[in-house]
Symmetry: C2
Subunit: 559 residues, 2 copies
Amino acid sequence: MMMFNDALRILIGVTLLASTGDALAQQRSKPIQHDAEHYMLLAQHGEKWAREDKVIGAKLAEVRKANGGKRPNILFVLIDDVGFGEMGDPVLNHVRGYTTPNINAFARESLTFSRMYSEPTCTPTRTALLTGRLPVRSHMLEPKIVPPEGTGLHGDEVTLAELLKKEGYNTAHIGKWHQGDIAQAAPHNQGFDTASYPLHNQATFNFMTIESEEDRLADNVATRKTIPNYRMDKNFRPAGWVLGVDAVAGEDAHEWGAEAGKPLDYAYYDALNERYKKQVIERLNQLAAEDEPFFLNYWPQIPVNFTRRNRNFVTANGGTWVESMKDLDNHLGDLFAALEATGKAENTVVVVMSDNGPMAQAMPESGYSQLVFRGFKGDTTEGGIRVNAYVRWPDVIKADTFAGDIVYCGDWYTTLATIAQADKHIPRDRVIDGVNQLALLLNGDGYGRRDYHHVYEGPHLKATIKEQFKAHWPAPGSPGFALPVFDLYRDVKETKPLLATGMWSVAYFPDMRERHMALKKNFPDRGETRGKPYEGIAKLRPETKALLKYYYSARKAAE
Amino acid sequence: MMMFNDALRILIGVTLLASTGDALAQQRSKPIQHDAEHYMLLAQHGEKWAREDKVIGAKLAEVRKANGGKRPNILFVLIDDVGFGEMGDPVLNHVRGYTTPNINAFARESLTFSRMYSEPTCTPTRTALLTGRLPVRSHMLEPKIVPPEGTGLHGDEVTLAELLKKEGYNTAHIGKWHQGDIAQAAPHNQGFDTASYPLHNQATFNFMTIESEEDRLADNVATRKTIPNYRMDKNFRPAGWVLGVDAVAGEDAHEWGAEAGKPLDYAYYDALNERYKKQVIERLNQLAAEDEPFFLNYWPQIPVNFTRRNRNFVTANGGTWVESMKDLDNHLGDLFAALEATGKAENTVVVVMSDNGPMAQAMPESGYSQLVFRGFKGDTTEGGIRVNAYVRWPDVIKADTFAGDIVYCGDWYTTLATIAQADKHIPRDRVIDGVNQLALLLNGDGYGRRDYHHVYEGPHLKATIKEQFKAHWPAPGSPGFALPVFDLYRDVKETKPLLATGMWSVAYFPDMRERHMALKKNFPDRGETRGKPYEGIAKLRPETKALLKYYYSARKAAE
């Protein structure tokens, strides 16, 4: 019944527990603060949702009982930069000229979402997953590419890993992190017992290598030693940043596989990815052998791959990223098989999703182009933010089913916390955008709990969604009356704004925005979190120290 | 073994039977004449194909044996104007805001094609299905809309129905025909024992009604009695054309449900469609009860629907055509259930496909827009000509499988004729573009027998496809060296022509075109077939006779 009470408190905002003076009990007794639009729905559906949650609570108690009281494990696979339709669907596979049979088979065992919204880029999507909040609230606005960054996720943000740890979960992160290079932002300081991750994003590993210079694949960033004319600034095309690190909670992180003085090459990226592939299976086996439930966050860097070197092209498409989809698919097949072999698959919730649209702008070599929706990574049209997503939980979530409900990636935070009975630890002093979507998971299509989403690009609210309608907010100062509103069902590409026929929603959207913005007066967005880059990383290489020197001299001039 | 021999003769062009002086035997002894590009493949794969066909022949003989020697029945459902992705896929269903559960379930029991090419519009696609030939060869260039037409499919064209009749099939056509309104073009004169069909296309039934005038849905064509100013020509917006007809081979056709002097209304269209729905199930039951195998051609007019009147909108999308997809899906569910109930489903090949891309130009009311490919009905980009297609044949074609091979809709002609052991009747005196795709049906993905397709828009060759490459032919007189060639895997929307990187195919395509055109010297395209409109239709209404009078006065002036 605790389950149900918790859900009820969150959902209909009723304080059921008397205040005891105990901080946790107080926190638990207070409902989660959601975004303004949520309360429009809660007022209309709160009682129905409470009834549903009672049944769901009983069902989950049964599931735990059937698993000897053990809470479900969670394996979260977040795939980088794969556009909607590029995996999971054999027909669209053929359209593109490659296949993802293992992901397709996984989708058949799962609930498939057709309206999962990510953020437009990788850093904010990851922040939303970790914090359950629109990333603008924690100022995690967009990916930082140029190292060192000196910024990142604030230590006061409460991650899903931190919630789960409080309920005894073993936690591990492997792969892309991209939440900054300051100590407080590191996964092992944000709730993960162990972490193995690249400190920066793939551009550094792939683009800024000796081969990329030779191949002239990226001559704006490569070291360009061949054409030194007029070069004044050694740090415009720097070197020596921290590469992959291994970390354990409470300890310094250690760089892996980096040699002082050795320039970065593609081989390192490949080795890092091969290592993550092996690590995730090793870690899965270790975690599954423990008594405690586990949360394994696996966020591979593949399929992102800029180069054609040393690769064995096998698809008809032959694009560099498309080819890596085969690699990813084979690897996920291995991972799913490994999970099966642990005997713990039945009691493990597995999520597979992409983090944003395809990064295919002006890059036909990737093998991608726009497919179903309009726009790319970074755009707030559906092409940038609507992603493939699947969740499998044998015997609990009905296999081979499909949901058309709106889901925001931040909903995983609240939903998975509730599955793990850790929702009581969700902080009550801030806005949590993620709503509990367990009813959708368990009851299926039509049981979603949101009909809205606010779409940010960095600090700017660029679009707002309600049902099938989507407003593209004009730049400040532009005329407001003829707000372009699109019907996403009929006008999938968002090219035909509704005018007279969309008058109602054209007039309604500004009110939605106002409510959303008004809530920020009580719960203001966090400012940028700054700190010392690479703090907490042991034994920096000489070139890394040199890079830091440049960094601090420039910072000093700026501050 | 007859099966194998026939296939071998077709495929590798070897005369196995000695000439006997018998016309049929002579015809059988001559290989089918395919288009030029076929022979590039035949020279490379002929022996392998012959080996495959031997196995397939044995398999089909087994199937016939298991069915008491009876050849398989054929049910061919051709859906009008439904774009790629608008049926069969639950995820894309959700993207569009409606579902097609019965078609989706059928797809799961079928082989799904992801690269089926139709013609850009309904009339030529139907011609290709009926004749196995590019419609330009029989001058069936584009849909005729304005009645009377006075033209249509030539009686010397040999339809699939005529092939099957020679092997004892009972044949029936129900629904849209759109092959002209002259006697020789009529289904009951082209191999169908019985036919129930509208003499013209849906525009007449839907657009040119009293309600379309009142609703101003189509004020360029409606009768416009409300604004008579400056109207001089009563026949610009005519009335009185022949509506739906019932016909039996060897007899005159009879108009159904038309009353002299009564203006056409939406109710007639609805009644016609309801009648076809009932008729197809009645006819199916009749045909299934006979000893002979059957060929039932069911080409519904739905989902094409221009009006919102008297309709019960239930989808989230709410478009006029999208709503009719629900109607179509329910109806096909009934049809599939009826087939099951006959007990003959196991021995029945069922094809479901669309006839061309969506007719959604400037018509958001339809509920459609572009989805995966670029272009609409009438276009020769993939959006106009690439359609959903499924084939089910329990125990013979593996269920829930997917093929990425190129298939042309005309391939059904040769393939279904071969299944029915009627391929020996395929005429040898003309080019048959349809190739036998049985290997693809039985062996699955990768066993297709074409890597090319020539895409016509009416009389003009507009594009040529080879593998994933597609050339858009420039208008005559345009520069030829920089032929725009597109990679359909990487550039699904055909927006980024390959230049240097596509040099090989840019240079190869003109040779393909030359071979294709050179063959026409020996096998020239037929000229337009003209005749007396409405000949062979009993008891024309007075307004129909008046319409014919206008028609003949205009023709006389022209000739």
